[in-house]
């Protein structure tokens, strides 16, 4: 297998047993960047000298059988909103074009501690909202890779790194995951610290990650997690996960191809022994769009209060609208939304009294043509609920673009979520890759 297709688990194991050199691995990935980056444009910054020097050092340690941690020698892409010491962090905006942090974000620190090589900074949309950056979808460069974690998802899909870090405030991990045909996770907010990440809306921002397999994300999340992630031994013993399929709102918002795809997947899971049933949403679900929009507008207005006044030219039109509208909402309306969000989280969590996992489409359909980043409608309900959520590619659309399924679990149940996702991944058996 070519080195650019190695999974994190395969590469880490090969480095441990001495059959793969960290330097050779990173050189192969840099060669892949040279070959495909002009078309994909997933990276803002790669400091090749620093990457090669770090790989060299990790190789010296590996030869002595000294391993820093589970990611020893693994190159990781970092969304360009996470601070990286001595490596510029642009947040996708001219306002930060020359900003070089003096410290690492918490996730970057943990990755380095575990032996990862910070491969470079991946493109984000402008200031982490909907105004697109230059990244193209590796499956068809005339289509969007989604956002805001555009570069992080595209870099993994294109084989330029095995895993990457992203972030989600509404739909910025799950949607890029689905559009780029990779596996993604948005864990519960409290599981992974956001310290050192440029914010959009504090109460909704989440760290996220991308890979090409569930097992890779499990290793990555264990490295980043601030608390243990117990699985569910009883369920893991057999394919007895209770899967709730959500139709209603999610069917209405999905394109016919996506609706049919999820129904077909639900049938396959049922045939494979999963307990699959349709779920009804609680009445408060109808408020989710009003809630998340109100909260994002207000918190983004506060985040950007000073910057939009001093550097208005560095804003895209969509973020400018969001911030200016947020400036008009009174504080009691904002707090009312935050208070009602608690009701929403409580009522939605009751769905897990009968189900382990909820299944929906990962996006309304495949990645649309053009650069507009697509609709985060499938992710918003779960980000608002703060339920850990994954996307898995399950097939290709008629025009050859990936389709993604989305799985959600109860807060802090990432262990269960990933155990179930591994079992579902086996049933799906997705092996397609972009032809770059």
């Amino acid at each position: 297998m070519s080195l650019e297709r190695l999974s994190l688990v395969e590469a880490a194991s090969s480095i441990r047993n001495g059959s793969l050199s960290p330097l050779e691995y990173v050189q192969a990935l840099l060669a892949r960047v040279d070959a495909v980056e002009p078309r994909v444009q997933a990276w803002t910054t790669i400091d090749r000298d620093a990457v090669l020097a770090e790989a060299q050092q990790l190789e010296v340690e590996a030869r002595k059988r000294q391993f820093r941690g589970p990611l020893h020698g693994i190159p990781v892409g970092i969304k360009d909103i996470f601070y990286t010491k001595s490596l510029r962090t642009t947040v996708g905006s001219t306002a930060f074009a020359d900003f070089v942090p003096t410290y690492d974000a918490s996730v970057v620190k943990k990755l380095r501690h575990a032996g990862a090589i910070i491969m470079g900074k991946c493109v984000t949309t402008v200031l982490v909202f909907l105004d697109p950056g230059p990244t193209r979808n590796p499956w068809n460069t005339n289509h969007t890779p989604a956002g805001s974690s555009s570069g992080s998802a595209a870099a993994v899909a294109a084989g330029m790194c095995p895993v990457s870090i992203g972030s989600q405030t509404v739909g910025s991990v799950g949607r890029p995951g689905a559009f780029n045909g990779v596996v993604s996770i948005m864990p519960t907010q409290s599981r992974v610290s956001l310290a050192g990440a440029f914010p959009l809306a504090w109460s909704l921002d989440h760290v996220g990650a991308f890979s090409r397999s569930v097992a890779d994300l499990e290793v990555l999340l264990e490295t980043l997690s601030d608390s243990p992630m117990p699985g569910h031994p009883e369920r893991a013993a057999g394919p007895k996960y209770r899967i709730g399929v959500l139709r209603g709102f999610f069917h209405e918002k999905a394109e016919p191809e996506s609706r049919a795809g999820i129904d077909s997947l639900a049938g396959k899971l049922s045939n494979a022994g999963f307990l699959v049933e349709e779920v009804a949403l609680p009445p408060i679900f109808d408020l989710h769009q009003a809630l998340i929009r109100t909260i994002v507008r207000c918190e983004a207005a506060a985040t950007h209060q000073d910057l939009i006044a001093t550097k208005p030219e560095s804003y895209g039109p969509k973020l400018r609208d969001l911030v200016q509208m947020g400036q008009l909402i009174d504080s009691t309306s904002y707090l009312r939304a935050r208070r009602i969000r608690r009701h929403y989280q409580r009522d939605m969590a009751r769905l897990f009294e009968h189900f382990d996992i909820l299944l929906t489409p990962g996006a309304p359909g495949p990645a649309p043509a053009g650069m507009a980043t697509g609709d985060p409608v499938m992710q918003a309900p779960w980000t608002l609920a703060d339920f850990p959520t994954m996307t898995l590619p399950y097939g290709l659309s008629g025009n050859g673009l990936p389709l993604g399924a989305q799985l959600s679990a109860a807060p802090l149940h990432e262990g269960l979520l990933m155990d179930a996702a591994k079992a579902i991944e086996l049933v799906i058996g997705f092996t397609a890759r972009p032809n770059l």
């Binding site: 408020l287 109100t294 507008r297 200016q324 509208m325 009602i340």
Partner: protein
């Protein structure tokens, strides 16, 4: 507290936009502000209790 209706909320938002952002910008945002007024009204209609903390 007296309930606000969508028209009241939209009018208040439009006035605030004129004051903060100027006439031209407020006009450009008019349809978005009406949508936002509907959303804020839907939240006004939801019951919250004193013990419900943000």
């Amino acid at each position: 507290m007296e309930q606000r209706n969508v028209t009241d909320i939209a009018a208040a938002l439009q006035r605030a936009a004129e004051e903060k952002l100027g006439h031209e910008r407020a006009e450009a945002l008019r349809s978005d502000l009406l949508q936002m007024a509907k959303e804020l009204h839907s939240l006004d209609m939801q019951t919250v209790e004193y013990e419900d903390e943000p």
